[in-house]
Amino acid sequence: MAQMINVALPKGRLGEKVLAIFEACGYDCPSIHETNRKLIFENEQAGVRYFWVKPSDVSIYVERGAADIGVAGKDILLEYAPDVYELYDLDIGKCRMAVAACKGFHDNTERTLRVATKFPNIASAFYAKKGRDIDIIKLNGSIEIAPILKMSDVIVDIVETGTTLKENNLEPIETIVPISARLISNKVSYKFKNREISQLAKAITDYCEAKK
């Protein structure tokens, strides 16, 4: 008997794109498009159960086995280092983790660098490699304000087009790592639902490779 696969989708634009890929691969779920307040949607025939969660929480649901698979940005995987399998690079939701600062910024190496970010682990690993002493300011959003108000010298954040930076007179100065969405799987689900998850991963891989 085929087992249901629980899929954690990231709320928002990326999640919609991911859902479209899953649907194109035969894992459709009509009820998910109805307007209501339901949180969990399933299609028994296709063998999938979807639920929307906050993008940064996808890896938690997967790591703890509430979701068998999910789609999470590489930024989240790098920041939280969840113990999950990273099965495929979907090559969507592409952006980069970058250091940005006010235009004309000059790094004064005599002083501790103040870094505002949502990603303290990525930022500290990046500067530790350079041996630079930093002071991390953990923020939860609107990171761009920090250097404008002189609370921080630089920011470490996701840069997609750079428009927000430009409009606030900021500019990216260094790329830390390119980011894209990854198909992740719980390590134990991968074993007990191996046939179902392998099939799904293969369908998605084939679909995405064909589109490249």
Partner: protein
Amino acid sequence: MSVVRFTNEEMAVMSLSSLYARYGFRQFKMSKFEEYDLYAENKDFLLGSSVITFTDTNGKLMALKPDVTLSIVKSVSDTHLNTEKVYYSENVYRVDKGTHQYKELMQVGLECIGDIDLYSLSEVVMLAKKSLCEISERNILDISHMGFLNGLLDETKLSDKQKSAVIGYIREKNTIAIEQICADNFVSESVRKALVLLTGMYGPFSMKIDELKKVSCNTATDNAVKELEVIYEFLKACGCENGVNIDFSIVSDSGYYNGVVFQGFIDGVPTSVLTGGSYDNLVHKFGKDAGAVGFAVYIDLLERLMGGDKAYDVDVLLVYDCDTQLSVLAKALDKITSDGKSVRAVTNDNGNIKYRQRAEIVNGEVKLYGSDD
């Protein structure tokens, strides 16, 4: 109906201990504390987990055990016995990755240290599989071999740091990153193919071992395959070959494991419940020319398994009042408990206790209300 309801953890500890004792392992009882130096000297083995330390009455820095294996290896390597087979059930203290707080964890496991022949090695793997079967029928034992992986990596010119990155990607089953690192470092086509194969490999032992053989490229990898085959033959002879898979994503980047490594999984528990392998390198570090193999079962992970929520606190709630004679009450309690039911006597039922049946004492006799199923 039995009054005594053991929790999953208690039952697991009992059945595992008796399993190990049946195969001639003797129990090893340890002190809760260990000198901190032991862990400072073997940091790599613990993979960076923090240790709770305190100063004892004569000023020595002590630690609450984060691990049992080190203490056993230390004590055994001092006594110079032939082959020591021990099992243990102990609490260890570690930092939880998610909450960054210390946690007390229950471990049951066994270690076999000394002259490890193929029988001893196979026996430990067999006991690992049997341990899983004691816990649940829905179990999987994943097995792989550090000797194979290291043999393969020796064919490359990767630095130690890059090798440990490769192991990290294998643990994630991240084939794309493996392709990338091989391309960046001019890894030969055959080794690249083998590494990609290892990363994606998952399936029953009998089906995957031939794929491994095909990419075996030197004596180290050949020997590893041979060892795996012997172990599997032994498992088959013991009737526990079902649900044994080859999976390289369970390899550890701790330098202490050198041979076969394995992990056990139970359907319904989101992480591995059993880890083990042969760790000759650790024993060598303690100055003994011997081998070692062992595993540990993480008992606390079984808490959420099976049974679900308990529906009742007691079988019978016996309500009495101040007029009830104590001798009558005692007789009533005796009658209910001798029927194999649990009972709680209260003066008034305030709804806090969930019960199957309610009992009252009428004219000196116990009267039960409600069904007992």
